[in-house]
Amino acid sequence: MRAAELRQLGKGMAFISPWLIGFIVFTLLPVAMSLYYSFTDFALLKGPLPVGLDNYRELMWEPHPRGRFGDPHFWNSLKNTFYYAAMALPAGMLVSLGLALLLNVRLFGQAVYRTIIFLPSLVPAVASAMLWMWLFNSKLGLINAALMSLGVKDPPGWLSDPRWAMPALAFMSLWGVGHTVVIYLAGLQDVPTELYEAAEIDGAGRWRRLWHVTLPMISPVIFFNLIMAIIGTLQVFAVPMIMTGGGPARATQFYTMYLYDNAFSYLKMGYASAMAWIQLLIILALTAVAFWSSRHWVHYQGK
């Protein structure tokens, strides 16, 4: 390495040193530690004692009577999280994109509409949990009052009904799509107007312009939002923790909630670490699939 190059390296390292130190202390070290813990029996005061794959086996494939494998609560929480993601993720992607397209139409009061859609995403999770518990309240809530006035005789109990609790949480998550809408709007502003004009001259109607100009042009933004949504949805914790505590009948026990319980209520920290690593691997796998698929539908403009 030449002297000039070395000087550049020194300068660069000096500037990024805060992140580099933080990365080692607050990320790399804890990640490595938790990988080790996941192979140990580790209570708060005892251990960590290496136990090989015991935690993973207990979680996933330890045989039980009646043909069951592993920890039923683990599988249940995983199933719940995917069930929620299967509703909230596509709905959130569609609603936020749709809203962004509407909010991108130039009209009187646009700024007001944009602010209104964005406001709920500012609400702290705990506060919005309180608010929606009240709205979803089966006996006194506004939602059931509205449904009954519309002629629904026996509206669902929402959070107290195992079948409806999860759809209710997914529906509620749509209230907070404002962040995503804002990111879409920023992307839409960057689509050159010449492209629309050219498409219009070529006789393309509204839907064809959307399909052949807008969507391909903002596909990198869609991709970014998809990745963020995958990472976020699989970690949902605060809202269901407060609203349902995992109930009724564990119907809304999310993965992170069961993990938290293992770590800090049952003090099975090795077990919890194994769960955390499984969560990380699931996120990595899904992100990898998204990246792989992106070759077929994400169009990057040549710079």
Binding site: G12, Y113, I116, L259
Partner: protein
């Protein structure tokens, strides 16, 4: 990249104007235009409804709040609910607000300074290994908090046991990491820094300005909107955080608003919704006010940063 594009668009506007005008008029009178208006109006009402209901419930008596079918107008009007919440013997609202504010302000200061410094390194200094390190940094965004949660708890306890300061039971685990930059903020600021013309740095370098001087005196002042976005996001994040305080804070006097509100709710078994709504309004209000105060800078910042990835 984005900066250059938006400049082009601005430069192109006057030429397009004569072509634009008739189409704008046509648009205003078109049925489509009104349909979009109508759709947005309905959606906005839907998005605002929870807020309205929260405000209305917060000024009702408990008897009226519990009526079914619900009555819309609060009668009698009871703003005293807010006084009840603020002076509640169990919900030390002002104390919790102060605690949350301490964590939020320290996090905002730390992450704005450190993330911008690191972002400068990634955006403006060419050095060997930069690409790899940047990729690693982006990858860390995918690591779920539970992966580090247990080990960090151990690390903070170990630090305390070995005379390296008290960590558990203090706010330090919640704000100290912010002083080492956060991947999302670094990414955002780097995208913004890359749009600032290199010539500015070159000119300063010729005048004998150090690299740190360029960062501090040229890049930072030019990046106010992006820094505002980072600051606001971090503030909101710290204000909203639930899992972090839940793990690291034990003493009730040290509770944040999120923890306090949750405790308040579980204490009352979900019956005193009028007080719960008043407390929620008080928790939400600071963030909303902050948003309206910084709205202009915020929107400018989002439009110009690489928020879109």
């Amino acid at each position: 990249m984005n900066g250059a594009q938006s400049k082009q668009a601005v430069g192109g506007a006057p030429r397009e104007a004569p072509l634009r005008r008739p189409s704008l008029l046509r648009r205003i009178w078109s049925a489509e235009h009104w349909m979009v208006h109508l759709a947005l109006l309905c959606i906005s009402v839907g998005f605002l409804m929870p807020f309205v209901w929260m405000l209305l419930t917060s000024v009702k008596t408990i008897e009226q709040a519990m009526k079914f079918p619900p009555e819309i107008v609060p009668r009698p009007f009871v703003p005293e609910n807010y006084v009840t919440v603020l002076t509640h013997p169990k919900m030390h609202f002002l104390l919790f607000a102060r605690n949350t504010l301490i964590i939020a302000v320290l996090s905002v200061l730390g992450t704005t300074l450190s993330s911008s410094l690191v972002a400068y390194g990634f955006a403006r200094i060419k050095f060997r290994g930069r690409g790899v390190l940047f990729a690693i940094m982006l990858a860390t965004m995918m690591i779920p908090f539970p992966v580090t949660m247990v080990s960090l708890f151990r690390i903070f306890r170990w630090l305390g046991d070995n005379g390296l300061g008290q960590w558990l039971g203090t706010y330090k685990p919640l704000w100290v990491p912010a002083w080492f930059g956060s991947a999302f903020n670094i990414f955002l600021l780097r995208q913004f820094f890359m749009t600032i013309p290199e010539e500015l740095s070159e000119a300063a370098r010729i005048d004998g300005c150090s690299e740190f001087g360029i960062y501090w005196r040229i890049i930072l002042p030019l990046s106010r909107p992006a820094l505002a976005v980072v600051a606001l996001f971090t503030f909101m994040w710290a204000w909203n955080d639930f899992l972090g305080p839940l793990v690291y804070i034990q003493d009730q006097d040290q509770y944040t608003l999120s923890l306090g509100l949750q405790t308040f709710q579980s204490m009352h078994g979900g019956t005193e919704y009028h007080l719960l709504m008043a407390a929620s309004v008080l928790v939400i209000l600071p963030v909303i006010v902050l948003f309206f105060l910084t709205q202009k800078t915020f929107i400018q910042g989002i439009a110009t940063t690489g928020m879109k990835g």
